[in-house]
């Protein structure tokens, strides 16, 4: 059984594995990390069985190692994701994610009359609460909560 699970997404020699992504956030995570723009080998699986989520997704990126700042951006949509650094087929490091204090250019401001929805400006938020998730817009100072969160 364990073997079948491992085969569902093929192993990588060197790189990063991001596990425990909620299945419905997979493509958002891909967008946030900009994976559609890199030429490295990427494999992913989704709707895999998970005790925690019911359905989870996993991404394996060859020869890419993310900075803490880059990877923490996905904490907004995949707070329970785990990061495994792979070298020569072995997991050499494991990381959990931390939600940053400030985020830029990831989420859309929920306020339709915010300047960021009218001029081409990179959005900026400070995270004023993690649970429940509440983002304060740097520009209009209005709060966007989890229910109204849209990833750009």
């Amino acid at each position: 059984m364990e073997k079948a699970k491992q085969l569902s997404v093929s192993a990588i020699k060197n790189g990063t594995v991001i596990d425990h992504i909620p299945a419905d956030s997979l493509f958002t995570v891909i967008t946030i990390l900009g994976l559609e723009h890199i030429s490295n080998q990427i494999t992913f699986g989704t709707n895999l069985e998970s005790k925690k989520f019911g359905k989870k997704a996993i991404i394996k990126v060859s020869e890419v190692y993310f900075t803490e700042e880059e990877i923490n951006k996905i904490a907004l949509v995949a707070p329970a994701a785990r990061l495994n650094i792979i070298r020569n087929y072995e997991v050499v490091e494991k990381h959990e994610l931390t939600l940053p204090d400030k985020i830029e250019g990831i989420a859309r401001c929920f306020n339709p009359t915010c300047i960021t929805n009218h001029e081409p400006i990179k959005t900026r938020f400070s995270i004023i609460s993690q649970k429940p998730l509440r983002l304060k817009c740097h520009y209009c100072e209005k709060i966007t909560d989890e229910e109204h969160l849209t990833i750009i």
Binding site: N111, T113, C114, I115, T116, I121, H138, C140, E141
Partner: protein
């Protein structure tokens, strides 16, 4: 060292309590003895993308009395915005012609954005429902001037506490001064949770009521705002509450000697005309105070003293 030199004023939180105190002190000095033409040779651009006669005239009066020049427009229709120019292009162009930009815009966050791209400082004269910090400073000045202090006062805020940006900014500013707040509003227009949470975190006392006839005797300041019909989804609800939030002269009978009635203006019917004769009515003097406060803000930012 003037920490306000070249600094933009977008949100009341941009100024520290010390800086606010300095502005209020300077406004008081300007009121007692006008400083003369200290803005001579300075050009201030007033960009009113949204009309606001009162605020614009107050800024113009403040600048003119100090010998400065004002350029700009009073509504977007008479500017290049009507030709489709972006805010960025307007701000960058106008910053070439002026030492300071005063800006009013209906879009929230527009002033913050302008302050980030403009090489000259920006004063926010109102950005949609967000901030109007010069109004907050003139409210603080009016309270300090009439009460002799900002500390330990009982402040009543009445009317539309949900959408009113002036009450939100004033609440934030007064939270530094051991204030007791009484919020009086219809259920639909209550003070938003985020502001109540903010007060709780700072250990500031607040009470909520749906009527103020019985409790007005405790107030040092009554800050009136207008309850607008269009804020109600059910017109019947508006009809039920519309007269509860009107201040009448007889309600002032047993109030404190030091009580003053403030209102950001324009007033419609939320303060009866017969209140105007009461020595406790202060809203027109409050508007005059706005000129001294704006003079102090502009002089500090342009560092002319």
């Amino acid at each position: 060292m003037n920490s306000l030199a070249s600094k933009s004023l977008v949100s009341i939180n941009d100024f520290s309590p010390d800086e606010i105190e300095r502005i209020l002190d300077m406004a008081s000095r300007f009121e007692q003895s006008p400083p003369g033409k200290i803005l001579d040779s300075k050009v201030i651009a007033a960009l009113f993308f949204e009309p606001s006669t009162r605020t614009r005239l107050s800024f113009e009066s403040a600048v003119n009395r100090l010998g400065g020049r004002i350029i700009g427009f009073a509504e977007a229709g008479t500017s290049s915005v009507s030709k489709g120019e972006s805010l960025k292009d307007t701000v960058l162009t106008v910053s070439n012609y002026s030492d300071l930009i005063v800006m009013r815009h209906s879009i929230e966050g527009s002033a913050r954005y302008a302050s980030e791209i403009s090489p000259v400082p920006v004063i926010n004269a109102g950005d949609g429902s967000n901030q109007h910090p010069t109004q907050t400073l003139l409210d603080l000045y009016s309270i300090q001037k009439t009460q002799g202090t900002l500390d330990g006062l009982n402040i009543f805020m009445v009317g539309d506490l949900k959408y009113g940006r002036t009450v939100h900014s004033l609440l934030m500013a007064l939270s530094n001064y051991n204030t007791t707040f009484n919020f009086i509003s219809p259920t639909e227009l209550r003070m938003p949770e985020e502001y109540k949470l903010f007060l709780e975190k700072k250990g500031i006392k607040y009470y909520e009521h749906d009527d103020f006839t019985e409790i007005i005797s405790r107030a040092d300041i009554v800050y009136m705002t207008r309850v607008q019909r269009e804020r109600f989804s059910d017109p019947l609800e508006y009809e039920k509450v519309k007269n509860i939030y009107v201040l009448r002269k007889e309600m002032l009978a047993n109030t404190k000697e030091n009580l003053k009635i403030l209102h950001p203006l324009p007033r419609v019917n939320e303060i009866d005309r017969d209140v105007d004769d009461s020595p406790k009515a202060y809203y027109f003097e409050q508007a005059l105070n706005g000129v001294y406060v704006r003079q102090a803000i502009i002089s500090s930012i342009l560092d002319v003293l």
